[in-house]
Symmetry: C2
Subunit: 695 residues, 2 copies
């Protein structure tokens, strides 16, 4: 196999879109360190690729795809660093190609760096060493080694509150076992701990409300300290019942290997070509997505995710997490395992991150890529001849799974042969719980009882997907298309006619869904006309229809997650404007983010635009969601709509038995162990019941 | 293996829910024939199981599941038969156990039997033999053997119009090839044919409008008669381009055989137990669905499907099909093929139908059943210890695919281990087209140009799923639950609180969706309380959010498909009330159906109730949908919500490499051909990045 030009370039030096390498991260943090006196102790929060400006990168990518070569843009790393035990923080851009610091900006006090794993560990240590905490545990007559602290971002409670804080929810292991794998969320303690992270000490202990309403006095009843009757545990070894034996192996075999080619982070599959990025914040990103040589997307990634809780009782009213901006989907990405998270032939990609001391490290297998058979792509039986043709639907799945404290989220980019790009969200993991007086449970209207004295409060998961399109090149617009009945008149005398009404969005702003009008959002390129339809080429967004953020507009939940107030946002592109809730979400005041971007009121017709889709799960827990939650899924689809002149999967070979080697139930029952039928069953020659009529 | 009592009973005589056997159908039609003088020529439209009354069947099923035995209800067959070449039709119930006719009712003139394959064949023959048609084909200077007639139900045009009619849309094969597999929908002719099916002759030929509006005079331009440039064909052999070579085999291997047990039509899988039915009208039905020994559903099936077209120009304004009530999903069910329609180990079920002369025949492989790995069911990583636990999501898929003229629909019932029951609809096949003056195309607002002179009109696919629940036994109610913000007051001082508001539906009627309120419909059994939540046990409906029927309420499209006017309908159960658009949909006047059932205004709280969910695709064709349409899918989910005390999949063994035998990309590339790794990769022991803190 001869290497392609792209591969040669990749081998020589990193591609402008390659994630930061270990060397680059170390170079960057070392250069940052040199900006400070040697006795200044720094705390490195995060570092990752600072993507080149579009006006530089896009010509490069276009030339590269055309087999030409332009000068490689310099590689830059963005470092977020603070002076330890002070409120001073900095955003530094380092040119690692030239090994120079390009810019160093001290962040305003309103911009707090994220809450990263090393600080979470520190917070847990401070908590467990605290005499205040020990006194609370003693009050509960509980051994200290049974206690489990879970550090969360502090949230926000008032204006002008910028001291760096962490709140720690307190749980205990099952007192019957004190097993390290026991489900601590079945044993929430009745206090939380506020840490001052500048002083690195406990600021206060706050007792949790145990009554069913915010205005009711705290109940005298206290936390549960018995694990009897044995709680349902999610870890198999701790379960009291035996495993079901009925699940038989089901394996995916790809005898000729995978259908995709991975050259570094460049993936080619079924006429698709794109680059996979990875950074501490968004985790997986896709770039320069083309199909059959035509541009579709410049960049796509989940931009933010907010989880506001609906329990109104102080101090739980601050409970709300920005899982991307504050915790970092890259930092929280799981190290995926062969045979655990996917079936078939799996390509894994690693990701590089930094420790708080600036040292870079590799997180293994943070992204996996594999093919999936998703059933039928299309089928038709010619009733006149009886001939049936089936083409199956092969997909490429790119997966990342993050663990943010109690919850897990799996995120998938899914491409198929028909030109669809899907973003799927899967929520699982464990409910965050709080104690409640058992007598009060019935009166509680903002949570579900999941065990005696344990409440799982209602909450929302609010996601925003950032779609930076370049549908068939430069100059895109968004059309809002409704299907509406024609009026009863001479053009519609029988009352059955309906038509589409289309409007092109002219200025940056928000749009509403309208299922009753069958509303469709189409990203079009008005400069390219589809030869078949005579309309501009385009892709449509099939949005997730869901509930907006429920918190009152004046509340901190709402102010900090304004992207949750509308399902569709359209902005004019700006470099490094990537995050729906703004650049710094930890203890944010809500001044930055989508509402600020659209307020520029810019033209978005035939422009370089970005479409942002907000969707949510309103998660009112079920008993079935405990002690671990069966996945909840939702899928956004980008679907070609007049991008192609006709069905782009016509050249996918038909589905048949020689290729698919299915086995009949009866044969399988008779010969369990033998895999494939010796006989080749004639396929797709079904004799239909309707008879041929000669014309 | 010792047979269970159920199997012994099944072997002895058919189960009350088994589909009609060949013998039973032949016995029934013979007994029907004896009701008429021997010189009367009968036309048998359809015959199938007449299910026992619930008050008889339900105790039988309960006893059977308890291992007891009650007297077997008599087997009855319902036969729809007409006297050929007359408007006289009959519905006959035959007791085939006793071999007696139980009832014979002459149908009112307003109830026309369905349009079944044998009559469609007859209609095509009448058309092609007609001098009127031959004259039209001559006018078009087209060889007759190039012409393809497609018979559709006539629809309805006015009050008191009950003469049995068929309309025939006319197409031609590609004139360049005249190949029998060519895509005729690329060559729509400019006339349709109305048949009088009582006289068995052509009643009239009607010319189609070629202009862009109903009020405009017909254009002089005529149909296309050239296939150049070569049209995209969907049949691979006819395509001008070569097949892509990039798709590599992906096979599903189940070395220990399937995880389900099929004993006749009784299926047992992962604690689920249910019976699969099949009849000419609904095709696949599920009955007596229990989970871990607890009742969930008495019966579930797609009840109706209507496809109204939005092209307002006469005579196309009648274009609208009831694919179940008029064509019959059983009659139009595909004979599925091993390796074509599914992967893995497949169980096929046959179905029995009758010819117009009353002879029964078997349609092979009309339903298939197989397991699917649907990714991750749940996962959690304990950040304190680094231990990750993953359980995969195994599903059982039951599939039926129907071909109704141009279109294909695949219908799936999908069960999973977490108690979910899904109904998935997949639409594919070919767009129904009509000719248009190429000059007029741009002005047309109710269709998409898919080729020169060829318009694919806008239309809706409106489905209704009938859910007959018995959640944990008798007496069910429907709760409508909204998630709403709390008012800003002393109980919600921070404005972040939200609660659920619940209302129990008391009388039969319709309900609206409300995504902005996160509205959920919960079917509960108020007589059983969930031990964990303290609420009644229940299942929630996750509806498909879609557009209502667009036709004007006074139009025939709307009057005949009133079930399309609301997404949720709740009725009190009545025996044999199964169809959303009424019992006889062919040329129906809209008097029968859901609107009539709910008008009884019956109590539905803690009653035997039925929930009917209407959903739609508003299908404004894309160029990509031609010459064959990539699948469009939608899924309704019934999800346990307080049915279980905790996650019912805790006892599903964890996912690991020993079981799943995945292969790394690199290993696969190195050893394409070798399937499984020799080394056992340690699995699910991922070392997480967040560090353990000892309490």
């Amino acid at each position: 196999m001869t290497p392609t030009q792209t591969e040669i370039v990749s081998a020589a030096c990193p591609h402008p879109l390659d994630p930061a390498s270990i060397d680059e991260l170390n170079t960057a943090t070392e250069l940052v360190r040199k900006q400070f006196d040697s006795d200044v102790k720094l705390f490195f929060y995060a570092a990752g690729l600072h993507e080149p400006a579009k006006k530089i990168l896009r010509p490069f990518l276009q030339a590269e795809r055309a087999g030409k070569y332009l000068n490689m843009p310099a590689r830059e790393i963005c470092v977020i660093v603070g002076i330890a035990r002070t409120p001073r923080n900095f955003e530094v851009i380092v040119n690692v190609t030239e090994k120079v610091v390009k810019s160093l900006v001290e962040l305003p006090r309103t911009s707090l760096p994220p809450l990263v794993p090393s600080e979470i560990t520190l917070a847990m240590e401070i908590t467990m060493a605290s005499d205040l905490v020990k006194a609370e545990v003693e009050r509960l007559q509980m051994p200290l080694d049974q206690v489990f602290p879970e550090a969360w971002d502090y949230g926000r409670d008032s204006e002008n509150e910028y001291d760096r804080k962490v709140q720690v929810f307190m749980y205990a292991r099952n007192p019957e076992t004190n097993h390290p794998e026991s489900n601590v969320y079945a044993f929430p303690l009745d206090f939380l701990v506020i840490l001052d992270m500048t002083k690195e000490e406990v600021e206060s202990v706050q007792h949790l409300p145990l009554g069913a309403s915010a205005s009711k006095n705290r109940s005298q009843n206290t936390v549960r300290k018995t694990g009897k009757p044995i709680e349902p545990e999610y870890v198999h070894e701790l379960q009291s019942h035996s495993m079901r034996k009925s699940v038989k192996p089901l394996q995916v075999i790809q005898p000729e290997g995978p259908g995709f080619q991975a050259s570094g982070n460049l993936i080619e599959w079924e006429k698709w070509r794109f680059r996979v990025g990875f950074n501490w914040r968004e985790g997986m990103t896709l770039h320069d997505v083309t199909l059959d040589g035509r541009e579709v997307l410049y960049r796509i990634a989940l931009s933010e995710m907010s989880v506001p809780y609906g329990d109104p009782r102080a101090p739980l009213h601050r409970k709300s997490a920005f899982d991307l901006g504050t915790y970092g989907a890259g930092y929280t990405a799981n190290n995926l395992g062969l045979g655990c998270d996917c079936l078939g032939v799996i390509k894994y990609l690693d990701g590089n991150l930094v420790e708080s001391d600036g040292r870079a490290y590799t997180s293994k297998n943070v992204i996996c890529i594999h093919e999936v058979d998703a059933g039928i792509q299309w089928k038709h039986t010619n009733l006149n001849t009886g001939k049936a043709v089936v083409v199956r639907r092969r997909q490429l799945h790119l997966q990342m799974i993050i663990t943010v404290a109690n919850y897990e989220y799996a995120f998938y980019f899914i491409l198929d042969q028909s030109g669809e790009i899907m973003f799927e969200t899967l929520a699982t993991g464990i409910l965050s719980t709080t104690p409640i007086d058992p007598e009060e449970t019935k009166k509680c209207r903002f949570g579900t009882r999941v065990a005696s004295g344990v409440l799982a409060p209602y909450h929302q998961h609010i996601f925003n997907l950032r779609i930076d399109p370049c549908i068939d090149g430069d100059g895109n617009s968004v059309e809002v298309i409704d299907s509406v009945p024609m009026p009863l008149d001479e053009d519609n005398p029988y009352g059955i006619g309906y038509v589409t009404e289309s409007r092109t969005v002219s200025r940056s702003g928000t749009e509403q869904l309208d299922a009753e009008k069958g509303r469709v959002f189409k990203i079009v390129n008005p400069n390219r006309i589809n030869a078949t339809s005579g309309q501009p080429v385009g892709y449509k967004l099939v949005p997730i229809v869901s509930q907006r953020a429920l918190a009152h507009p004046t509340s901190w939940h709402a102010r900090r997650s304004q992207f949750g107030s509308a399902p569709v946002w359209i902005t004019k592109y700006r470099d490094h404007e990537l995050y729906a809730a703004g650049n710094y979400t930890n203890q944010s005041d809500g001044d930055d983010g989508l509402q600020a971007y659209v307020a520029r009121d810019e033209p978005v017709e035939n422009q370089d635009i970005v479409l942002w889709h907000t969707f949510s799960f309103t998660h009112n827990p079920r008993p079935e969601d405990f002690p671990v939650m069966p996945c909840e899924t939702a899928r956004v689809v980008l679907k070609p709509n007049g991008f192609f002149d006709f069905n782009p999967t016509l050249d996918v070979p038909p589905s048949n038995q020689c290729f698919n080697k299915s086995v009949s139930y009866e044969e399988s029952k008779n010969q369990a162990g033998m895999q494939t039928s010796g006989q080749e069953v004639p396929c797709c020659k079904t004799k239909a019941k309707i008879h041929r009529v000669e014309g």
